[in-house]
């Protein structure tokens, strides 16, 4: 499926930590309105790539361009304000705030008045099906709800691009299916998404195109069909699956 | 010229004892990430205990140190076991502020308890060594400082080898490096914490006796040594025994030499300024990130 114009361009990005090259010459194009999947074995460099896009640390080499602006040197909060939101692989809730308050922290970015932020947060919680839990403190939530709250929080910043890092990790199949629904809803509302996921079925269903990383390098890219039939991918992934089964 | 050499020697001698005092704090921070704000007050306690044992029995302070070391080991062990561990358990952050706050309350309590019971007047122990000095060329070397320095260095080295060679020592170092791996290796972390903390406080107790022959005992002595110890831990790198030694000697030298060169307050300020600079530019200490 063709996306809109180019929203994010990761251009030959490399990240080195001392002697370790976590990401090696990776280029990714994300068009407006797409869902781009990012798959690969653990340690392949996916989260590192996310961290660079989100501004946690800069790339050693390469550029990242978001809506015609180079963002690779900008700090986290500036990138968030430019319109990129993210969730974390290991959730980072504000545990002593309620679900509503958590979401409000995100909403305050565009709605600096408390009343406005509250309303926006309520709307988001409605959209994502967490309204009934709005007054529950973060510390009392289970993992599926924490993941959804994190999603709500990021959505409240009205991002143009959303980075989802293993939103389905640790969820059972029925919770996972719900998440897939929400992601589709989010896409329909006009948000572009890059998603890291290990649950193959989800990635294949959701993604318009997929990039495959292995040990920091891009080894394949294309539509879900193209990628799942790519011999390199089958080799490195099947290999992974066998290892995991053992 | 000899004034400066004198100050340098003096600084080294007191620095050695500073190191022994601080190394326990360094161990606690390196292994458990806790800052014991009452560290100096525990030293003060060690000093008062030593003073009263001395006054009551006339025992040589260098024998008393063995008693105070054992006593304070148990104080430290049970403080960690009974109280600090419970506070740590509740803490979700990586660096427990609650322990810092709790121990600051402890310090406040101990120093004022001492003030209430013993009063503010400095108590001086008239030991066999007090006031004696040797003359080497034109340098006067204080005898008690020299003996205390020697014992302090021996203890610090002993601790170093204990951590490097003994099974318990290696377990402590393993826990400091990587808690999850240490647990997987079957190390009982709680016990390690208790022992590590106990050792640190034992050294503090021992140091109390070491200071007795040349330092008057006052309730406020704790406050001085608390901060000095923090500076040493930062200079030497948390959890590093050689670092604590280096840090201790350095602080001792800056103090004595600084007082000689400029003034007492300038020397104190220099210590604080060095502290800030090291925190900013060499957060792992002057020696860099190190194993204990």
């Amino acid at each position: 499926m063709e996306g809109g114009k180019l929203l994010l361009q990761v251009d030959a990005v490399t990240k080195q930590f001392g002697g370790l090259t976590a990401v090696n010459d990776v280029s990714v194009d994300v068009n407006q309105g797409e869902i781009v999947g990012l798959i690969g074995a653990n340690g392949a460099g996916k989260t590192t790539l996310f961290n660079m896009i989100a501004g946690v640390f800069p790339p050693t080499e390469g550029k990242i361009v978001f809506q015609d602006t180079e963002i690779q040197k900008l700090p986290c909060q500036k990138i968030s304000r430019l319109g990129i939101g993210r969730t974390y692989q290991i959730v980072k809730p504000f545990s002593n705030l309620t679900v509503l308050e958590n979401t409000m922290v995100g909403a305050l970015q565009h709605y600096p008045k408390i009343a406005g932020a509250r309303q926006k947060a309520l709307d988001i919680l409605d959209f994502i099906g967490l309204s009934h839990r709005k007054d529950v403190v973060g510390a009392s939530l289970g993992l599926p709800e924490l993941k959804r709250m994190e999603l709500a929080r990021a959505l409240a910043t009205e991002p143009k691009l959303l980075l989802l890092d293993e939103v389905m990790a640790g969820l059972n199949p029925s919770d996972g299916a719900k998440v897939i629904e929400y992601i589709q809803k989010i896409k329909e509302s006009g948000v572009t998404i890059i998603i890291i996921e290990h649950v193959m079925k989800a990635i294949m269903t959701l993604s318009d195109k997929i990039y495959v990383l292995n040990q920091g390098r891009l080894i394949a890219q294309g539509s879900p069909d193209e990628v799942s039939n790519d011999p390199e991918v089958i080799k490195s992934y099947l290999g992974e699956k066998r290892y995991v089964k053992n | 010229m000899s004034m400066y050499v004198q100050a340098l020697i003096d600084g080294l001698l007191v620095g050695g004892v500073y190191a022994t005092i601080a190394v326990g704090l360094s161990l606690a921070f390196g292994v458990m990430r806790i800052i014991n704000w009452a560290h100096g007050e525990l030293l003060m306690t060690g000093m008062y205990i030593s003073y009263f044992i001395f006054t009551a029995t006339g025992l040589d302070p260098y024998l008393i140190m063995l008693l105070t070391a054992v006593m304070m080991f148990f104080v430290g062990f049970f403080l960690q076991k009974g109280i600090i561990s419970n506070i740590l358990e509740r803490e979700t952050e990586l660096e427990p502020i609650s322990v810092l706050l709790f121990t600051s309350g402890l310090g406040l309590f101990l120093s004022n308890l001492a003030l209430m019971i013993f009063g503010a007047n400095p108590l001086t122990a008239n030991t066999a060594y007090t006031g004696k000095s040797l003359q080497i060329a034109s340098i006067y070397v204080s005898v008690p400082k020299l003996i205390s320095f020697t014992i302090a260095i021996v203890c610090t080295l002993a601790l170093y080898f204990f951590l490097q060679r003994s099974e318990m020592g290696r377990a402590i170092r393993a826990t400091a490096q990587n808690r999850s791996v240490a647990t997987l290796m079957g190390i009982n972390m709680k016990h390690i914490y208790n022992v590590a903390f106990g050792i640190g406080i034992a050294l503090v107790g021992l140091s109390g006796a070491l200071l007795l022959p040349y330092l008057p005992v006052v309730p406020t002595v704790g406050a001085t040594f608390s901060f000095k110890s923090f500076v040493i831990v930062v200079l030497g790198g948390q959890g590093s025994v050689p670092g604590a030694l280096l840090g201790g000697l350095l602080v001792g030298i800056i103090e004595k030499l600084g007082t000689q060169l400029v003034s007492d307050s300038a020397a104190q300020m220099a210590v604080f300024i060095v502290f800030i600079l090291v925190l900013l530019f060499k957060p792992y200490g002057l020696l860099g990130k190190k194993d204990i």
Partner: protein, 335 residues
């Protein structure tokens, strides 16, 4: 804020304002003013220590800055302490900006240590220099404030009531401002930073900027309090004003009362500040160190058993009681 709560607060303030009409004993008034001063300091500290969650153990340095600036201007330039207060506040805020830029890069315990180091550096500077910025500050001897006459503009009063009303006004202002922050965007952002700064950053929060802002506000308020404090004491004693003990006292009650709450610091300060004086009354003589030892003990007990502080515990108890009463009510209504 709902009308009921606002009315209650206004009522409390009005009732408190009547105190000087009933209390004529100078000594008692002094104790009461002391209580209000430390409630004020605790409220100011709470903004950086409670809301932002930064354990600034060296904030006493701003008490000293406020005290010195206004005293120098008053004693040597004849400028009214009202202006001196503001000048002190601004300078303190600027100092907080500088200190914060350095110390906020450090984590938890190291940050706390660094703030104490800063306190000592400045304290030693004032103690060891007889002249600061050209003014004769007399080092460790301190400055005795000249009596310029009983008037508001001099902030010097023969009757304690004058001081009482000023500190009450300051406390009310501090409380109102603190409330304003807590219920605003800044309050939410500070709470987020407190709990999870990385996540906050990913939502657009400028973590460093917010911390600096909170620190500057707290410093300004603290310095204003410092100015008032020396006017009240009529003497500037640097070892007290810039001492570590002072630095601890302005936060001790905030922590015991419940850092991060509005009323906690105030309530705890009101209860605990007079301890020294009350003990003196009971025991007959002043036992050096007794009050402080009790403070230390209380802090330990609270951190161990009630780490959230006194006020949250009181609220919890209140809610429990209300819930129990409500649970009984339907049964009664049915009869």
């Amino acid at each position: 804020m709902n009308v009921k709560k606002a009315a209650l607060c206004a009522g409390i303030v009005l009732a408190t304002a009547l105190i000087p009409l009933f209390v004529t004993n100078n000594l008692a008034m002094q104790y009461i003013i002391n209580m209000l001063i430390f409630a004020y300091f605790a409220t100011a500290w709470n903004i950086i220590g409670g809301y932002a969650g930064q354990l600034a153990l060296g904030n006493g340095v701003y008490v000293g800055i406020g005290a010195y600036v206004s005293t120098i201007l008053f004693a040597y330039e004849g400028i009214t302490p009202w202006i001196g207060m503001l000048a002190g506040g601004v300078i303190a805020a600027l100092l907080a900006l500088i200190i914060g830029s350095i110390t906020f890069r450090l984590s938890g315990s190291y940050f706390a240590l660094a703030t104490v180091a800063m306190l000592h550096i400045i304290r030693l500077t004032f103690l060891s220099n007889n002249y600061m910025f050209g003014y004769h500050t007399k080092g460790a001897l301190g400055i005795s404030l000249p009596w310029r006459g009983n008037s508001i503009i001099n902030m010097q009063f023969e009757e304690k009531a004058g001081y009482f009303y000023i500190i009450l006004a300051l406390l009310v202002a501090a409380g109102a401002f603190s409330y304003r922050i807590k219920t605003s965007k800044m309050g939410y952002y500070l709470q987020a930073i407190n709990t999870n700064p990385e996540a906050a950053s990913s939502l657009g929060v400028n973590v460093m900027g917010m911390k600096l802002k909170a620190s500057m506000i707290s410093a300004f308020m603290t310095a204003v309090g410092g100015s008032f404090y020396v006017q009240f004491l009529n003497v500037l004693d640097p070892s007290r004003i810039l001492g570590y003990d002072m630095s601890v006292q302005i936060l001790l009650f905030a922590i015991i009362g419940g850092k991060g709450t509005l009323w906690g610091p105030i309530i705890a300060s009101l209860i605990m500040t007079p301890l020294q004086d009350v003990l003196r009354g009971i025991v007959g003589a002043s036992i050096s160190g007794l009050a402080q030892a009790i403070y230390g003990l209380v802090l330990m007990l609270f951190i161990y058993f009630l780490p959230a502080g006194l006020w949250p515990a009181i609220i919890k108890l209140y809610n429990k009681i209300v819930a129990k009463i409500r649970a009984r009510a339907p049964a009664n209504a049915g009869e």
